[in-house]
Symmetry: C2
Subunit: 303 residues, 2 copies
């Protein structure tokens, strides 16, 4: 009987010092190690568990797919995005280089980020690159890279076992960490506004006040697309991505139709889940970084 009282005392004391969380973890482990000897009740064990539960994140893994290519601002952009992801729990960052081989710059940056990552390469077909040396101007960007990531997901994750949400996260946008709380809510396909895109201050789904459903889109550019939604404006449940194996990106799509055609594999307009406070908040911006004017190089310096 005294053991039971002692155990209760311990649990109570644990609550008292709950704020010393790092130490709590060690205590919890040692108590669990001896729980049989101490005859802790189920309830006591539950209390013990909950004391520590704040540290445990219950949401799905967010698979962030980031195509990237070599250019002056690449390291700056990837640094920025990796630091944003450090503030988000349970992210798996998939970075796909448009290159023949993985580069040291990306390899080191990913490794130093201490994030869970997958590093892939997929080179854009040469015929898709215009004669202009700026690869931004080619007709479709990121096609091979996003497809490589989709392939990786389908080959390495298992429907029913792995839970997650898939988000295409280009390296030049700006992301508020609030966005990832929204992404974690996605059951099938979630949508939200994207700032500074399509000629307006934002591109946003129109949500019916009564039904809470998406009825159309506000966009300064082709608002009548089936889904007038930027790549940064939606996320898809991993289950759907694993089920619809035929859903990929392609060069055959008309200009600006990548998102619409891809989303059509998974959902219809009235099934969309409007997030970010019914699409009234902007948590991601389609910022573009100026190409710097550089006429010379300091050698031996990775920039």
């Amino acid at each position: 009987m005294i053991v039971f009282q002692l155990a209760l005392l311990i649990v109570w004391k644990l609550s008292v010092i709950e704020s010393g969380i790092d130490k709590l973890q060690i205590l919890k482990q040692s108590l669990e190690l001896h729980k049989d000897k101490l005859h802790l009740t189920e309830q006591q064990l539950l209390v013990l568990h909950h004391l520590d539960s704040d540290k445990h994140y219950e949401g799905p893994t967010i698979y962030c797919i980031t195509p990237t290519y070599s250019r002056y601002v690449q390291k700056a952009e990837l640094t920025r995005i990796s630091q944003t992801l450090k503030l988000v729990p349970n992210v798996h960052w998939i970075v796909i280089e448009d290159a023949m081989e993985k580069t040291d710059l990306v390899r080191n940056l990913i490794s130093e980020s201490k994030l869970i990552t997958t590093h892939l390469v997929a080179q854009t077909a040469p015929f898709e690159k215009l004669k202009d040396s700026n690869p931004r101007i080619k007709r479709h960007r990121g096609v091979e890279q996003r497809n490589a990531a989709l392939k990786w997901l389908r080959e390495n994750l298992v429907l029913g076992r792995d839970k997650g949400v898939v988000y295409f996260m280009d390296d030049d946008n700006t992301y508020s960490i609030k966005l990832f709380d929204e992404i974690a809510k996605v059951r099938k396909v979630g949508v939200w506004p994207v700032g500074l895109v399509g000629g307006l201050n934002a591109e946003a789904p129109i949500v019916d006040a009564k039904t809470g459903k998406v009825t159309g889109y506000k966009s300064g550019w082709l608002p009548n697309r089936p889904f007038a939604i930027d790549m940064a404006g939606f996320a898809i449940n991993l289950d759907l991505v694993l089920e619809k194996v035929e859903a990929t990106f392609s060069y055959e799509m008309a200009k600006g139709m990548q998102e619409s055609e891809f989303l059509s594999f998974f959902t219809t307009k009235d099934q969309l889940e409007p997030l970010a406070d019914r699409c009234t908040k902007v948590y991601v911006w389609h910022t573009r970084t100026e190409k710097p004017k550089i006429t010379g190089n300091i050698t031996g310096l990775e920039v």
Copy 2:
């Protein structure tokens, strides 16, 4: 019997750990308990929280001075910078709006960042704004704003009591969190390379391999300035800022000479402390965000 001894041992260990918890923790709890009676402000509670979470951090407070002005990408830029600073211990972020009055956008963003902040306003003199409506093009940017921050430091901090380093952190650059480890090392004036500035891949102090001292500067633009160093490429110990009260920025300085003239108040070239691995690493990039082409607005949406 052994169970009883084990339990006793655990209770004893709990008490040891409990008493070992930083006194700050107890202080924090009792203050939070009485916060209503004490009328603690949100900012005071935040400081309390940071004192507690940074209790293992021994470095100085880094005072980051960020001038900002209203434009389409402002919220995106400030979101990005605030999220970077969340990863840095012991930062005090001073944000100065170029505006008549504090705006809700900046006020809310700062408050939601949960950083220790000071929010100021200082309006740029109208004669300094060119007829061109783009305020980027005016002759000197950030003069009044940086001076307002210096004034705040000198009025609110006390030489000898407050320890820190002062860094001018514009809202459009890209910052690796590694930079702040370097800034924390500054004893008088620390310098390091800045990526993508002055027409080269980077602007960098030249460090003599034998003496470890700065002997000159690599820059694509006026390398013979007394200090050919971008605003993002140096930090100054708070002691010096509090001592040299005459050091301010001014419209009288020649184009591109703000940094040189300001640094001349505090140091000479041979006293500079070359950081970032003897100025061989780039931890900050002078990125510029493209001005988005926006022809219409969705109303009621803060972007």
